[in-house]
């Protein structure tokens, strides 16, 4: 797989210049960079040195970037769309070099190995530079059409100039093939079905003359056109989720493209996108903040782009992509289709009464989710009541997908005008809130200080992430005992009395925290998240856990109460592991740690004794258990005691 290496500054520019192109130069270590503002510079990439610079006179626009032609051994450039300039290394002033004017606007001049420079005019005419004058006035494309992209592709028996033409509602690909055997040009036109707006194009031809033209759409979609002798194949590759609003692309090969303008972890940067596995590999953030996404160019195993006042070069390593490298990198598939709120009726009967209920459900759900239709609390509550009634009766709950319920929950949580606590309670009680939205729910409940709803969520939701558990713990520990008394909505009889002298929390607070401690967790993730708990809360939590573990109070931990002793010990272990350094260093924790140590030693002794007892009991069991009649078979010798 290709990997971007650390960038380096190729050139410092005096002001912000937009680079037009980076092309080959006579030496393989050098590049020829053409800047919009009127510079054509040749740089040595390895030495990061400017070798040559050809300034362009003020008022002259470089419309086709400078290129080197091996065949003619000269540089070529187009000024002001109709003036072709040709010079060689020794020439320092471009204005004094050979020029050629043609009557038609030139789109671009191309060079390819073994051939003289080829001129592509904006009217679609393409011809060698010597002959361009003769045909340049013969238009190939219409006056309304414009070339948006063009490139030259090398073939076995010639070459081709391909250019994409866009008109009002149409996009066509024109191929001007030059065949060596007949020394003639052949023109082909293909209609491109892809009609969406394209941000950028790039093209690549491999050693086997397979040509791919990539189109990067404005909707983050990547499209590929395989260009063959007499046909094209269009295919949609993937949606690039990491793409920003602007981007530019360049091909590394037929399956890997460099994209500048990727957004990852809030940073803009450049990365290599693998079209085979549809994932971004090797991302590098832009070295400087760029307001406009810079164009990227690829040459001599380097990616070039100007960022700010510098021209950067990113060397890259090339390699074959393998699946193992992409595992875990591709984002989960998002449903691009309009996630409609259409409720499916699972009834097998064509006409059934259920159909009406389902339609009603759909309507009510749409109203509930759309803030404009249920703007105030009373409307929302009324609709919700009807919705819930419809849902509960007649097994309609199977018609509703979790996606739709998540949207409803999100509406409840994001609603600022009123707080639908009762509705959330109903949803929790009936189990209509999926675990996927638990993080968001808990965050909002903590924000709203809804203790009873939090408590209910812990009871009703499954697979609460450890991060949320720690959030809740943090929140609970931060509250005072009186805070729990407000809006108390739990059965007091379930609250276990605590020993006020030993327990650091009040009964209610302890009850709420017990619920958190009773939730299942993975210790690896929990330790990670526990580190975010502040130290003061850690000490309080440890104190409480110690109380749960070590107190003689029968109510503290027994088989019927939650959390179980094993849970408590796991929590203690994880908490200590997460803050071991702090606990060792802090003098406040000393007493607590000593008490914990003593308690654990006692418990260990006790359980060792229990293990011995277990062995004894199993011996008794085997001695005194009901005898099982042994299978004798046809013959045996057995012991018989008669008296």
């Amino acid at each position: 797989m290709a990997a971007l290496l650390d960038e380096f500054v190729l050139a410092n520019l005096s002001s912000k210049f937009n680079i037009l192109s980076v092309e080959r130069s006579p030496s393989s270590n050098n590049i020829l960079a053409t800047f919009e503002a009127g510079f054509i510079n040749e740089y040595n990439v390895d030495d990061q040195k400017l070798i040559h610079s050809w300034p362009v006179r003020h008022g002259v626009n470089v419309t086709s970037p400078g290129i080197w032609c091996d065949e003619e051994e000269e540089y070529i450039c187009v000024f002001n769309q109709q003036e072709i300039r040709r010079w060689n290394v020794d020439d320092n002033i471009i204005e004094k070099t050979r020029k050629k004017n043609i009557k038609t606007d030139i789109y671009k001049v191309f060079t390819t190995e073994g051939y003289k420079p080829i001129v592509l005019c904006k009217n679609g005419a393409a011809e060698f530079i010597e002959n361009i004058k003769s045909i340049c006035e013969t238009p190939v494309i219409g006056s309304q059409d414009s070339i948006v992209y063009a490139d030259i592709i090398k073939k076995q028996n010639g070459f081709g100039v391909i250019y994409l033409v866009e008109s009002k509602n149409k996009r066509t690909l024109h191929c001007q093939w030059y065949l060596d055997d007949v020394e003639q040009w052949k023109h082909q036109t293909f209609v491109i079905t892809y009609q969406k707006t394209v941000i950028d194009y790039c093209c690549h031809t491999d050693e086997n003359s397979n040509t791919c033209l990539f189109l990067l759409g404005s909707e983050k979609d990547l499209y590929r056109i395989n260009i063959k002798e007499s046909s094209i194949e269009e295919e949609f590759i993937s949606v690039i989720h990491e793409l920003g609003t602007e981007a530019s692309i360049v091909c590394l090969d037929n399956s890997q493209i460099v994209i500048a303008g990727l957004l990852k972890k809030g940073q803009n940067g450049v990365g290599i996108f693998d079209t085979k596995y549809c994932a971004v590999q090797s991302f590098k953030p832009f070295p400087e903040i760029c307001k406009v996404v810079p164009r990227v160019f690829c040459l001599n195993n380097h990616i070039f782009m100007n960022c700010g006042k510098k021209l950067y070069a990113f060397p890259y390593q090339f390699g074959t992509s393998t699946l193992s490298e992409f595992l875990g990198k591709s984002r989960s598939v998002e449903d691009n289709t309009n996630s409609s709120l259409h409720i499916i009726n699972w009834s097998t009967k064509l006409k059934s009464k259920g159909n009406n209920t389902v339609k009603q459900l759909e309507t009510i759900l749409n109203d509930l989710i759309d803030p404009s239709k249920t703007q105030n609390k009373s409307k929302f509550s009324d609709q919700f009541k009807i919705f819930l009634e419809c849902l509960i009766k007649g097994n309609n709950s199977s018609s509703i997908s979790s996606l739709q319920m998540i949207q409803l929950c999100q509406r409840c949580l994001s609603e600022r005008k009123f707080w639908p606590s009762e509705e959330l309670r109903q949803l929790l009680n009936h189990g209509y809130i999926s675990s996927g939205i638990s993080s968001e729910l808990i965050e909002v409940l903590i924000e709203k200080k809804e203790n009873s709803l939090l408590h209910l969520s812990l009871q009703k939701l499954s697979e609460i992430p450890e991060a949320c558990l720690i959030q809740i713990l943090q929140y609970y520990i931060g509250l005072s005992d009186e805070d729990f008394q407000k809006n108390l909505d739990i059965d007091i009889s379930t609250v276990i009395e605590v020993n006020q002298d030993k327990c650091p929390f009040g009964a209610l607070k302890a009850h709420f925290i017990r619920e958190v401690l009773s939730q299942p967790f993975s210790d690896i993730f929990l330790i990670d998240k526990l580190r975010k708990l502040n130290f003061k809360n850690v000490l309080s939590l440890l104190d409480f856990l110690f109380y749960l573990m070590a107190t003689d109070d029968n109510q503290a931990v027994s088989f019927s109460t939650r959390p179980q002793l094993q849970n408590v010990i796991d929590w203690i272990s994880c908490t200590i592991d997460a803050h071991v350094t702090q606990l060792i260093l802090s003098p406040d924790a000393r007493v607590l740690l000593i008490k914990l140590h003593e308690s654990v030693s006692q418990q260990t002794q006790f359980y060792d004794g229990m293990i011995e007892l277990e062995a004894l009991l199993s011996q008794y069991k085997s001695k005194l258990s009901n005898p099982i009649k042994p299978k004798i078979g046809q013959y045996c010798i057995e012991v018989l005691h008669i008296y």
Partner: protein, 670 residues
């Protein structure tokens, strides 16, 4: 002392045969039972169901009907012959063909002078059995279809036969059918077979047919009085009591259904046959039902006799499971066991272990597994009447109806797999009396003592590869029913046909003594290991010990024999085998079908009323009785040397698994 290492043998695949017919002789109080292999057993119900004699069957002979006439026993079968059996010699005495194909049923007249047989050809054939003869008399007119059931009216003049779709009344005088009763069909095109018949003195005919119905007919008018759909399948057998007011029927549906002739109101006209009782004792088809004076006996495919008695308004049923004696023999010196099947023998070498254990019930790891050394088939597929193996295991002998065959057995155990050699010993003497019903080797193995049922006792000497009769004793006119050899080798004890027990000295050819006669016939007897005492177990479980030298009962026996607890005599299963503990002369091991009891003669007898065999009774070491009920269907218990014991067991389940399938009936939950 009560610890043993037991060779627990279950590889003896003994399979009792299904019972076909029952016939009870009121005067002699004997019950004849025929089985599917043609054998006939004579049981004494009054003597606690002692099986007195067995007439062995032949493969070509089947018994479809048995009739007693006084002490004479007649059978008939599919061979087409009516056979009279000699109950002394246990051989057929006389045989007369019916000339009408197979005989399906047989009956006799009231006076006992005639037999009537129902045949395959549809004829009723009469036989004259007056004056001790058995002669073909006459044949009635032929009818369509076979005659499957027959009954003779007490007034001599009428015979009722049942066949396919009909019951006919025949005039004995004219030999013609005088009435025909037609039965209905259960299903169209399905014939109704009358499997069994009875007739009362008032000409009420009772029939059991393939529809599962028991019908009562007015024989005079030829009309049907009443039909009872008593069974779900064919009614194969029915029996009427002497008073002619109770009938029991059964069949493929093994329910035993009783009918009674009751009077509803005063007056003759208000008497009806009603269905009274239903007993569910059997699991398999019931082939025969018979009234005894105080109970009803039923038997069939299930192989056991079942008794049904009414006591104080409740009906009690019990099963008489009989394990035949003398089918397992052991050669103690070589630890070999011989198993006798119907027509072949197996000789096995028992396994061995060096391990011991203190834990009761523990199965010890085997050092060597039991090995089947020999399977010896009887020539001509004849039934083996008796067999024996010498103590040293060098000789085996068996007897069929015509021959005594003796073989020399050699077992080379040096290799991992023992090599077995068998060589026949030629029987040189023509004096040998056959068939032999009892056979015993002397302790040294040089002689074989044989006894025929007719009363001949012979001593056969074995000299290497030849054997000859060295002595013949013919002193038992009533026949010999039991024989046992003294360990000293010079005495045998014999039970004759009149239940006299005699001790015979075979060395000097004299009768040492006759034991005092007891009210009940002996069930089994055996000499003690020293040969000084003879222990006898009678049919009522009375145990006597006789001092052979002193020719009187031993002191212990005089003192204790009648002091056994009452519960001992009331045990359902009676002692069928006696063995002795080699480690303790005072120990008697008494085996019945379901348990064995060690009687310690040195201990005091418990009180007579003490219930020492109850489940909840906890035996103590000082008790005189120690019971072991661990094994079901004990076929053989023998104490070998030291603490070794051989127990041959055949579980009821194993026997049941080999029986044919029962009638499928819908049961709750299935």
């Amino acid at each position: 002392m009560g610890e043993f290492r037991v060779h627990h043998v279950r590889f003896f695949e003994y399979q009792p045969k299904p019972i076909h017919c029952l016939a009870y002789e009121k005067k002699n109080k004997q019950l004849a039972v025929s089985r599917s292999d043609g054998s006939i057993e004579i049981w004494l119900p009054e003597s606690d169901w002692l099986q007195e004699k067995v007439i062995s069957g032949r493969s070509e002979q089947s018994v479809e009907a048995i009739v007693w006439q006084g002490k004479r026993l007649f059978t008939a079968g599919l061979g087409g012959d009516v056979t009279e059996h000699n109950l002394l010699t246990l051989k057929p005495k006389n045989s007369e063909p019916c000339n009408a194909g197979a005989i399906w049923c047989l009956t006799k007249n009231f006076t006992g002078t005639r037999l009537a047989a129902g045949t395959e050809d549809g004829c009723v054939v009469l036989f004259d059995i007056e004056m001790g003869q058995l002669k073909y008399l006459q044949s009635f007119g032929k009818q369509e279809g076979r005659i499957l059931s027959i009954a003779w009216h007490t007034q001599e003049g009428v015979i009722v036969t049942g066949g396919v779709d009909n019951i006919r009344l025949w005039s004995v005088k004219s030999g013609q059918a005088i009435q025909r009763l037609t039965l209905g069909h259960q299903q169209e095109n399905q014939e109704t077979i009358v499997w069994c018949l009875a007739i009362t003195s008032n000409m009420t005919i009772i029939s059991g047919d393939s529809r599962g119905k028991t019908c009562f007919w007015n024989g005079r008018q030829g009309t049907l009085i009443k039909t009872f759909s008593s069974h779900k399948a064919d009614v194969l057998t029915l029996s009427i009591n002497e008073e002619e007011d109770c009938v029991f029927s059964s069949g493929v549906d093994p329910l035993l259904v009783g009918f009674e002739f009751v009077t509803t109101k005063s007056g003759v006209g208000n008497q009806h046959w009603v269905q009274s009782t239903t007993q569910n004792i059997h699991k398999h088809d019931v082939r025969a039902v018979c009234f005894l004076p105080n109970c009803i006996v039923s038997a069939g495919i299930g192989t056991n006799l079942c008794l049904t008695q009414r006591r104080r308004d409740e009906t009690i049923s019990k099963r008489i499971a009989h394990i035949p004696q003398n089918i397992v023999h052991v050669a103690k010196e070589k630890k070999m066991v011989m198993l006798r099947y119907t027509d072949y023998l197996e000789v096995w070498k028992l396994g061995h272990t060096n391990f011991t254990s203190e834990k009761d019930g523990e199965i010890l790891p085997l050092r060597s597994n039991p090995v089947k050394l020999l399977q010896l088939k009887c020539k001509g597929q004849a039934a083996i009447l008796c067999c024996g193996i010498s103590n040293s295991g060098d000789h085996i002998a068996y007897c069929d109806e015509h021959n005594l065959r003796i073989y020399q057995l050699s077992v080379d155990e040096e290799d991992y797999t023992p090599k077995v050699g068998l060589s026949k010993i030629t029987m040189a003497s023509e004096d040998l009396r056959v068939p032999i019903h009892h056979l015993e080797f002397t302790p040294d193995g040089r002689f074989i003592v044989t006894a025929t049922a007719s009363g001949y006792l012979q001593l056969t000497e074995i000299n290497e590869d030849r054997a000859h009769v060295s002595n013949t004793f013919n002193v038992f006119a009533d026949g010999i029913t039991m024989l046992t050899m003294s360990p000293t080798g010079n005495c045998v004890a014999i039970v004759s046909g009149d239940y006299t027990i005699s001790i015979l000295n075979i060395t000097n050819n004299t009768i040492e003594c006759n034991l005092p006669k007891y009210d009940h016939p002996p069930r089994t007897l055996r000499f003690s290991p020293s040969g000084e005492d003879l222990v006898i177990a009678y049919s009522n479980n009375m145990i006597f010990e006789f001092d052979v030298d002193k020719k009187e009962y031993t002191t212990w026996s005089r003192r204790e024999s009648r002091r056994f607890p009452n519960q001992w005599f009331k045990r359902q299963n009676k002692v069928c085998r006696i063995t002795f503990d080699p480690r303790n002369d005072d120990h008697l091991v008494l085996q019945d079908n379901m348990a064995f009891v060690i009687v310690d003669k040195s201990k005091t007898m418990p009180e007579k009323k003490k219930r020492i065999f109850d489940k909840w009774y906890k035996p103590k070491k000082e008790d005189a009785f120690h019971q072991c009920k661990k094994y079901n269907f004990l076929m053989y218990v023998e104490l070998l040397e030291d603490d070794w014991m051989l127990i041959v067991e055949r579980t009821p389940l194993a026997i049941l698994n080999n029986l044919p399938a029962t009638l499928k009936q819908k049961k709750f939950g299935t």
